[in-house]
């Protein structure tokens, strides 16, 4: 089985297992968090860092990170791509190096992403009564499934709606171009605003907040996690009525302490110490 077929089959299985039908998928971050239980974070990082999943094999905990970006379709395909790596357990050591390499696992993850976001039978369902496939159709597919024009063009080609030349031509179009031409630029901008926002890993943040309440983490730890200032975090915590719990120390009055009899002589005997000070100056034996 080729990497492409393997990715496509896995995407179909994923949709089946989670009863996702052939409909467009909404918030992918929520889908990943809910189906895998793994925290997803949207991070502020360099332009060539798209997505990363990191796993601690000893505790079997994982985090998925994707870049904050003005390209919402790309962020979605990256998320779907990472989901494939998690499903197949495509792990490499952290210092393995060339992350841009086109390995079979990468090709499989790209195919998985394409078939997960835009299943061919979902596409056929939408286009059932279409007699003519135009750029307007492409725009509708891009808008409906929230995928890049390139991804939509490949799917249209694979489903037999367009020829290779049209696919090539449409793959060079951009989502904002289509959005402007076909009147859904407002929606596109809303998607952009969403994909360009940092997002802290939800479960970890909740747990860190609990740690703050218990006094084992500072508010700065929460600020760093969220990428906002300490002042802003302190204001938020205050408004939410969240404060570290006081662990009162119970002090006792020395007078209330029980009188413990101590027999130093017995100790001296046990240690075989002499009874009299050895120093001619008459100092006492240190105890």
């Amino acid at each position: 089985m080729s990497a492409e077929d393997e990715g496509a089959a896995a995407a179909g299985r994923f949709r089946e297992e989670h009863r996702l039908g052939v409909q467009p998928l909404g918030d992918l971050i929520a889908i990943i968090e809910q189906t895998t239980g793994i925290d997803v974070a949207v991070l502020d990082v360099g332009p060539d860092e798209h997505g990363l999943t990191m796993r601690d094999p000893e505790r079997d905990t994982m985090f998925v990170g994707v870049a904050r970006t003005l390209y919402p379709m790309r962020q979605r395909s990256t998320l779907a791509h990472e989901l494939c790596h998690i499903r197949f357990g495509d792990w490499a050591d952290a210092d393995a190096g060339n992350w841009s390499e086109r390995s079979p696992a990468e090709i499989r993850a790209d195919a998985f992403a394409r078939h997960l976001l835009l299943p061919l039978n979902g596409l056929r369902e939408v286009l059932a009564n279409k007699s003519q496939i135009t750029e307007s159709t492409l725009s509708a597919v891009v808008q409906r499934f929230v995928v890049s024009p390139a991804m939509a063009a490949i799917a249209l080609y694979k489903a037999g709606y367009i020829d290779a030349a049209t696919k090539g031509e449409w793959m060079s179009l951009s989502a904002p171009q289509l959005a402007v031409r076909f009147g859904w630029i407002d929606q596109y901008q809303a998607l952009q605003a969403d994909s360009n926002k940092r997002r802290a890993p939800q479960k970890l943040l909740a747990r860190a907040t609990r740690g703050y309440v218990e006094g084992v983490l500072s508010a700065q730890a929460i600020a760093t996690l969220r990428g906002i200032t300490l002042d802003a975090v302190e204001a938020e915590l205050r408004e939410a009525g969240i404060a570290p719990v006081e662990h009162p120390v119970a002090w006792a009055d020395p007078a209330d302490l029980p009188d413990v009899p101590m027999d130093w002589a017995a100790l001296d005997t046990d240690l075989g110490a002499p009874d009299e000070p050895e120093h001619p100056t008459g100092g006492t034996t240190p105890r």
């Binding site: 060539d48 999943t53 905990t61 990472e82 792990w91 992350w99 983490l217 508010a219």
Partner: protein, 112 residues
């Protein structure tokens, strides 16, 4: 006394917490010249100083002392272009895993 590497880790924690060296000095009660020498590696940090810096930067003591057991064992799956080494994301996710590990050690339960 903690040797080597700590200065670098403290510097990274300081930058990620968005604190100037002066602000970190104020928050920890360590004088700025001393802090500067710790960061440059001219002077080792004493444990109480590390504890204060960890608290002020929102890190754990283990993260600042190089006792990063988690970093040595993590595995990754990435998507990058142009030969990116994914440094930003690796650091961020490593921080999440270390924080999670620390909260485990402190017996802080997951709340959701």
């Amino acid at each position: 006394m903690i040797e080597g590497g700590t200065g670098e880790l403290i510097e990274r924690a300081r930058v990620e917490a968005g604190l100037s060296q002066r602000a970190l000095a104020d928050k920890t009660g360590i004088s700025q010249p001393t802090l500067s020498r710790i960061i440059s590696g001219d002077r080792s940090a004493k444990m109480p100083e590390i504890v204060a810096i960890a608290w002020a930067t929102g890190r754990t003591v283990a993260q600042l002392t190089g006792g990063r057991a988690v970093a040595d064992r993590v595995q990754c799956a990435a998507r990058a272009t142009n030969g990116s080494g994914m440094d930003g994301m690796r650091q961020a996710l490593l921080h999440f895993l270390e924080l999670d590990d620390y909260l485990d050690e402190q017996a802080i339960p997951a709340t959701i």
